[in-house]
């Protein structure tokens, strides 16, 4: 897009024929809308876009380009919300070329300017596509985080004893969430014992063992002692064959065993009711 002439001339042309072009543009956009939005809504939305495009082309001020980008991102988002595919949104932007071409073709005067303008509109249309893509990625990432949060409960087993039942793989992302929740709960409940149950963790290899070790280390910095429970027979064999050492961390077969150990350490005893 050259800095001076063609852009400014096109901007002036667009200003002169504003109403006609916006009208035709809105029509073209509406023809692909299939009732998902109204003509008034479209005229307003695309009218604003039009003004920004004109401002950017005329290099009137340095904020125009940034505002135009923001407006396109917003258009992409709102259309996606209303159920438009990214292709439909992009085509909507591209149809501005058609609307302008219909006028320009009558006089055949603005050919070089139109060529440059056409390239600019191509970029803008593609931008709405990219914005849609980025928005989807963000949604996926947010959902993944939400799932991580939900799948990491920390429960109070007894006064001063909390349990973290882990279900699913323990990767580094999950470990971060587990550590945060465990430690926050330790602070909130004043517990001094945590049982980390790994019955639901399918494989325990050296990486998982390291994650467990990290979690226990962090909990100990807050003065809590940890027991790892839920060691299944196959897991026990894998751990030994891999040479993994849990050092001074107590490990138990079941959550019940771990609870009994924790109660003992807390100086408590469970006796039959009279």
């Amino acid at each position: 897009m050259d800095a001076g002439g063609t852009g400014k001339r096109m901007a002036e042309y667009l200003r002169d024929h504003r109403d006609k072009v916006i009208g035709r543009w809105s029509e073209l956009v509406m023809s692909g809308a299939r009732g998902r939005t109204s003509l008034d809504e479209t005229r307003r939305e695309f009218g604003e876009l039009y003004s920004l495009i004109v401002r950017m082309l005329s290099h009137a001020d340095e904020h125009a380009a940034g505002e135009l980008r923001a407006a396109l991102d917003e258009l992409s988002r709102s259309r996606a919300r209303d159920g438009f595919t990214p292709t439909e949104t992009a085509l909507g932007v591209f149809s501005l070329k058609e609307a302008v071409y219909e006028l320009v073709a009558e006089t055949a005067e603005m050919v070089p300017e139109f060529l440059a303008f056409s390239r600019v509109i191509d970029d803008l249309g593609l931008r709405t596509f990219e914005a849609y893509s980025a928005a989807r990625e963000q949604i996926i990432s947010d959902q993944a985080n939400a799932m991580l949060e939900l799948s990491t409960p920390v429960v109070r087993l007894w006064e001063g004893i909390i349990a973290v039942p882990l279900v699913g793989t323990l990767d580094s992302a999950r470990t971060q969430v587990v550590m945060e929740k465990l430690l926050d709960t330790l602070v909130a409940t004043g517990a001094d014992h945590a049982v980390i149950d790994i019955t639901g963790v399918p494989t325990v290899d050296t990486e998982v063992a390291q994650h467990l070790l990290k979690t226990v280390t962090a909990a100990r910095l807050l003065g809590a002692e940890c027991t790892i429970s839920g060691i299944r027979p196959q897991v026990a064999q894998t751990i030994v064959s891999l040479g993994i050492e849990f050092g001074d961390i107590a490990t138990k077969a079941s959550l019940a065993d771990a609870l009994a150990l924790a109660l003992r350490q807390a100086g408590l005893k469970v006796v039959p009711a009279e």
């Binding site: 004043g190 001094d192 962090a218 807050l222 003065g223 809590a224």
Partner: protein
């Protein structure tokens, strides 16, 4: 340079760190604690880091050293009130923080010290 005050209550020295720790401040604290331990019959040290937002390897090392120094005077050191974010970071950093016990708060720290003696 700010100095971290040391309180003596019974046989325990209490240190509550409330400021953004500068290297000099930590070194000074170490010296002051050594002086106090040598001069008094204190059997325990409680360092409250509830207000400390950052513990890097230098500060961590200093805390460990304080633990070692106190043991030379037959005293035990307990670090209390570590923030979850700090604990997670220290673990990631790989800092063993050896030589000191840790507890959730000063009350539990005292229980540990009293249990010891």
């Amino acid at each position: 340079m700010e100095r971290v005050p040391i309180l003596k209550i019974g046989q325990t020295l209490f240190v509550s760190i409330q400021i953004d720790l500068q290297d000099d401040t930590v070194l000074r604290l170490q010296e002051d604690l050594a002086d106090e331990l040598a001069a008094t019959t204190a059997r325990g040290v409680i360092i409250d880091i509830t207000a400390v937002e950052i513990v890097d390897s230098f500060i961590g090392r200093m805390l460990s050293m304080i633990g070692s120094i106190s043991r030379l005077f037959d005293a035990e050191t307990v670090i209390v009130g570590m923030r979850p974010a700090v604990a997670i970071t220290l673990t990631e950093l790989g800092l063993p923080l050896s030589g000191v016990r840790t507890a959730l708060n000063a009350e539990k720290g005292l229980e540990i010290l009293n249990g010891k003696s």
